[in-house]
Amino acid sequence: MSTEPPARIAINSDTDIVAARAQGRKLAGQLGFNSTDATVIATAVSEVARNIVQHAGQGQIEFDEVRDQNRVGIRIVARDRGPGIADVEKALQPGYSTSSSLGLGLPGAKRLMDAFDIKSEPGKGTTVTMTKWNR
């Protein structure tokens, strides 16, 4: 995707959460998503960005354009080298939380997007990949 500003955002603090969701909204708009879908995407970005800040302290989020035969979408990859998630299945159940949140973060992001995948290794970090298609 020939996007500028860069389609990668470093996540180190809660200020970066705001920057990441603004970036997600902007790129979604550029890819033709309507304003409701752009809001949904920005909200999902906010949840995965917060997950990085709360559990890993730092990481990054990449935004990419994806295409299949007849549609265009946005793929968001959130990576950190934090403690990892011991039980990914459990972390995706609404209400499960290791911090003081409501545990809606990751399951919430999953609900908002069309595709959602977590790869996590305890001690090595977590990668969340999520995609939304424009229809």
Binding site: A22, S35, T36, V40, E47, L112
Partner: protein
């Protein structure tokens, strides 16, 4: 940036001016809690019209503002949730359970007048 809080008779009006960081949201909660006591406010309006994203943290913080102020004897009403934001919140499974909402500032003040018998 700190959210400005205006005083109008027995009410406080917190008018959010831009996207807020988590820290700024918590600051707003603390400021409202403090000012509600200091000014003996009976009602508080939190205007979120400019917020273009309401994620789980923001919803949780607004809900706790409502519950905290209720314990201090004030009614809280959240106004100005945008249609796109409402759709995202429902998809995400968020609600403001136990905290009143109104369309805009005018409706929010009318609600407070009713609830506080002004």
């Amino acid at each position: 940036m700190r959210v400005p809080i205006l005083r109008q008779a027995k009410y406080l009006i917190a008018s959010i001016q831009s996207a807020l960081t988590d820290q700024e949201l918590l600051q707003l909660r603390d400021d409202l809690l403090e000012q509600t006591g200091r000014y003996r406010a009976r009602g508080v309006v939190v205007d979120v019209t400019v917020l273009d994203v309401m994620d789980s943290f923001a919803a949780r913080t607004l809900r706790s503002i409502g519950h905290l102020l209720n314990l201090r004897g004030a009614e809280t009403v959240i106004v100005g949730i945008q249609p796109e934001v409402a759709i995202s919140m429902v998809q995400l499974g968020l609600n403001l359970e136990g905290v009143a909402t109104a369309l805009d500032l005018e409706e929010g003040l009318a609600f407070l007048d009713e609830r506080t018998d002004q």
